[in-house]
């Protein structure tokens, strides 16, 4: 009897030991890979920005005040530097609420407020359903080139990926609204 009580009391303890050991192991691996993952992401974002503004000489973060609602969608804004003091446009990191979680895009907007291009940074959409719309073949993202704030609604969605398409359109519409404010007010 006594043996059984002591045995059952060991269950939480043993599970705790196992979980702690796994957590410790994960912490170590995270420590080892964290920087590489972050720098991979930064490199990817940089090359995406460069693709959107081919002529740009560099990108610098813009400190533009966003409302709480806007900040949910637009996480970062970079200005694309041209010759001298000129600015060619802005790159925005846009977080869309997709079916499987956040879809992170970089949207390039020129000084007229029209989109120069959209690049995908990360997503968690269902493979071969929502995710297929986001690939180069799916073509959803290329449809935004040259579109202005009023035109986002009319961009054709990808059939079979309605939620993903709507999420991307909503995110980009919000980003363009921010861009218009940014272009009007300056920073």
């Amino acid at each position: 009897m006594l043996k059984q009580t002591s045995k059952s009391e060991m269950l939480p303890l043993k599970l705790t030991i196992i979980v702690s050991a796994v957590v410790l192991m994960l912490a170590i691996v995270n420590e080892l890979t964290f920087e590489t993952i972050a720098s991979n992401l930064a490199a990817k974002s940089n090359s995406a920005r460069q693709e959107l503004f081919v002529d740009s000489n560099g990108f610098s973060p813009v400190n533009f005040e966003l409302t709480a609602d806007e900040a949910k969608t637009v996480s970062e804004i970079y200005s694309a530097a041209g010759e001298g003091e000129d600015i060619l446009g802005y790159c925005m990191n846009v977080v869309c609420k997709g079916f499987g979680g956040d879809i992170v895009l970089i949207v390039g907007v020129d000084l007229d407020g029209s989109i120069t291009g959209v690049r995908l940074i990360s997503h968690a959409e269902t493979p071969s359903i929502g995710a297929s719309a986001l690939t180069e073949d799916g073509g959803l993202l290329t449809r935004f080139s040259g579109v202005t704030a009023s035109g986002v609604e009319n961009v054709e969605s990808v059939s079979g990926a309605t939620i993903t398409s709507s999420a991307v359109k909503e995110g980009i519409a919000k980003a363009l609204a921010v861009a218009q404010r940014l272009l009007k007010e300056g920073y």
Partner: protein
């Protein structure tokens, strides 16, 4: 197998043969069907998925076996899942850091290795009853069997459905790919034919004996 205590070498050899061929997790045991059907649209994805699962299998089997006397049977499934999830997360982080393109194309399927029934099945049916070395070997063999199956399925699907192999165009410009094979229905078709083929070969082998 009539000998009650076979030598270690023979035992290990049996594990390897079973894992890769005679008890192939995909073709014979029909385990892990979801990733099998989902990721085999290209050879690159198939091999990547197979090797990731193999890595997880080897380490989870090794540690489950090492801890088999420590883990009380009442909470064994919970413990296995924690151990497996730990290794899957390691694979995910390492892949994100060093194999970005693979991690992007496999995406959601990597975290889903946690619930791949091959891994839980090997932990429960083998690693919890055997020595760590044999268990790790069993994990390796099952994993390679899984990888082999995924590679065969994905090679067929990529070649017929897309005209390429590992991204290289094999079938020439004039080949019009049978899109169906790349689509989910094609996955079921290819898998079904391959299982039938494997069964045929196995039965024939038995008959000749």
């Amino acid at each position: 197998m009539s000998d009650k205590k076979p030598s270690k070498g023979a035992f290990y050899l049996q594990i390897i043969k079973d894992g890769i061929i005679f008890k192939n997790p995909t073709f014979i045991q029909l385990l892990g069907m979801c990733p099998t059907l989902a990721v085999t649209t290209s050879v690159f994805n198939g091999i990547g998925m197979g090797l990731s699962a193999t890595f997880v299998l080897v380490f989870s089997n090794f540690f489950v076996s090492l801890l088999r006397k420590f883990i009380p049977s009442k909470i064994r499934i919970a413990s296995y899942i924690v151990i497996i999830a730990g290794f899957v997360t390691i694979v995910e982080m390492v892949m994100k850091a060093y194999l970005q393109s693979l991690s992007e194309s496999l995406g959601l399927f990597i975290p889903l290795i946690v619930v791949n029934c091959i891994i839980l099945a090997r932990a429960e049916s083998f690693a919890s009853k055997n020595e760590p070395i044999a268990s790790a070997l069993d994990g390796l063999a099952s994993g390679l069997g899984f990888t082999l199956a995924l590679t065969i399925i994905s090679a067929i699907r990529e070649l017929i459905g897309n005209g390429t192999l590992l991204g290289y165009n094999i079938m020439g410009e004039n080949f019009s790919p049978a899109l169906l094979i790349i689509l989910p229905a094609g996955g079921f078709l290819v898998l079904g034919f391959l299982i039938a083929l494997v069964q045929y070969i196995m039965q024939k082998g038995k008959g000749e004996k």
